[in-house]
Amino acid sequence: MITRNFSLPRTAVVAITALVILTPLSLIFWQSFLNAPFFNPAKHLGLDAYRFIFDDPDFWNAFLNSVVIAAGMVLIALPLGAALAFLLTRTDLPGQRIIEVLVLVPVFISPMVLAFGYVVAMGPVGFYSLWAEKVFGDTPWNIYSLTSIAVIAGLTHVPHVYLYSSAALKSLGSDVEEAARVVGANPLRVALNVSLPMTAPALFYAAVLVFFLGFELFGLPLVLGDPEGHLVLSTYLYKLTNKLGTPSYHLMAAVAVCIVAVTFPLVLLQRWLLKTSGKYVSVKGKATRQKLLPLGGWKWIALAIVALWLVFTIVVPISGITLRAFVEQWGEGIKLTDVLTLENFRQVFDQSDQVRAIINTFLIGTIGGGLAVACYTAIGLAGHRQRGGVARVLDYLVLIPRAIPGLLAGLAFLWIFLFVPGLKEMRNTVFSVWLAYTVVWLAYGLRLISGALLQIGPELEESARTVGASNAQVLRHVTIPLIRFGLLASWLLVFMIFEREYSTGVYLLGQGTEVIGSMLVSLWGAGAIDQVAALSLINIALVAVGLGVALRFGVRLHE
């Protein structure tokens, strides 16, 4: 359907979106070219900030570590994710339905929580380390090494690869595979000669995505990299303040620009890949009911490998946190039954800021999530069935927050809430955190909304126009009622994402803006392990509630 009328609401939505996205970004850019914080009267333009960080060996060290970890993640996550997708979509692997849900769990658990889980489970005095020591006489691993960080990050990002490759495999009709079987290819050849090349675009896309996520990594390297002093770009940025003792905003901005300089091209590359891989869609076979490949005796081996991965990425960290949350202390020679306690939770509920963090986290997920979905819907509808100008502007606009890691977005919003009149007053309300969250997750939220909108055939809206409904009436009477369920599902997913988010709130953390995620980062820095454990478990419980409701209502956990 074409719409030629200028529409005020649409223009307003696009303008506000542009303002909210571009202001923080331009602030970071501007700040990076100043030699002092932008509120300092003595500031002037210059490249001092870049000169400083480029002269700092720690910066280059962190940059190299980021590249190594990101590349390592791709090497680990890509084959495992693709194999997992093949096993779950194309073979008769037992227990598929449960595995399909479990696979996605790491996506919804905060990396901060996961990292902490690994420390208490597999760190030098972790539960599993001590048990392993009893059995082997020594702990055969060191989770604080750079390799361990890459391995853990790689294994926890398998779901991302799995999602894209399984979607590609599902849309690949079995008829093209059957055709290969009929002309004489055995199942392995079919997988290698037909399925793999036809899903290659999706795999490549997933590889770029994982590399990109590796560059943004914050929680894992913050927690696991600390003991041996491994820095990545985001933790380098985070530690700059400590390093110099004063708020060195211009240096942070310069690092931020360096990170965006790597991530933004990756986002553009992803977008381009998505467009080109779309070409495969038109040649794909008909998605008929697929015949599953019988694995025979191999299925138990495959199942064992999948189970091992699930144990490592879900059971180990979560059981570690759960145990740690209920003990006073842990170390060599301590008997579990002697140290069991609820004291950790009592401590959490005794601290008003931590209670506020729990309440705020809940509110930001429920009410904030609902409001965020409303905003995403408004933006989605503004671009709905639009060709040309508006749609293209929106298309590129929403890519920008995708490239800005949460930590940086939080920093930029901090500056805005410190100095913009009208917003300054809201600095100490959870609104500031909500706004930052909403912008950071804009691209994700919009994908959910546009996924729902794509389900509506254009003729359902056109027919309403022809019987006499205006554009606004079509939206109210046809489009929005038809995406109701999709909106509710989006709300649930956004709830989980907002419960999980931690890095965006780090710089915004203050009296009144506490959320569990940023609280964890802060408590971890202060060494309050007991409370970190208790809060982490509460955080997991909140996400689990969302997950439970989503599963109960049959919400697809990915777009």
Binding site: E459, E462, S463, T466, G468, V478
Partner: protein, 360 residues
Amino acid sequence: MNKPVDKLVVENLHLQYGDNPILKGVSMTLNPGEVVALLGASGSGKTTLLRSVAGLEQPSRGKITIGDTVLYDSEAGVDMPVEKRNLGLVFQSYALWPHRSVFDNVAYGLRLRGISASDIDQRVNQALTNLGLGALAKRLPHQLSGGQQQRVAIARALVYNPPVVLMDEPLSNLDAKLREEARAWLRELIVRLGLSALVVTHDQTEAMAMSDKILLLNFGKIEQQGTPEDMYNRPLSRFTAEFMGSNNYLPGKVTQVVDGRSLLEGDGWKLWGSARGEVKPGDTATGVIRLERTRIADSAGDNRLRTEVVTGMFLGDRKEQLFKLGALRIRCYGDIPSGAGETFIEIPPDDLWIFANDAG
């Protein structure tokens, strides 16, 4: 329902997607109470023309009016929004709103026009009864069969008495068997209610059965328009002749032209036929004859071809035979006379249309 009094006129309509012209100057008229079929292959622009009238596509040039109302006029800069055009459109997919009952689907257009609830009740029920849907008002679209959904879609488009009803392939979503019954039913409905309708179809039988006038579109231009009989019996171009029926094709060379009759000669045969369009001796040309106009004969004679039987096909209500003469293949309806060694096909000269091949 009120009888329509206004005429739909489309003048020199152009439309393009990017650099790709879809409509290249189409003009047509739809008189009140008339049914016009837009016929053409896919990509001919027939649906685009219909959607332009509805206001769902953006033409680049031309004019569309209904009576005194200007829907679109590129020169005057008029482009009435879709919802203001007050037309009825039946979509190919029916496009029933899945979240509304049959009653609410039909009532929506009336509600938008601010009609009182009691009037809506009465008019919707009247429309549903008219279409044989009286008992289904409370159902949701997915609880209906394909044929019932189609009727709801029609009721929805008719209930507010639009001056013209537009139908986009209204029968194509029905099963082949159901389609023929629906065709007769739809024609009856249109005649009974005295509707003005513009119907898009790619099926020439459907077009002939349902309409008073056919517009045959070919790559964005009108190839020919006329009554179904005209279009079928008096095609002006080879394209029309090919599109409107099942034919035999005889490629050859014109050797004589005498008072509108031309002699077409091929490899081992010569036949008299009637020239359509410009034909002169020396032209390479193609003879076209409808399958049902050929006749199987048992002896040689004027305008008869001596052929061999290849095979026969049983079609239920009749048989179709395939004959050959050199490289030529001729299809005919009828039985092969028993005992005959050779078979002859009679090609009546009036029914053999000769079209000069396009240069190049």
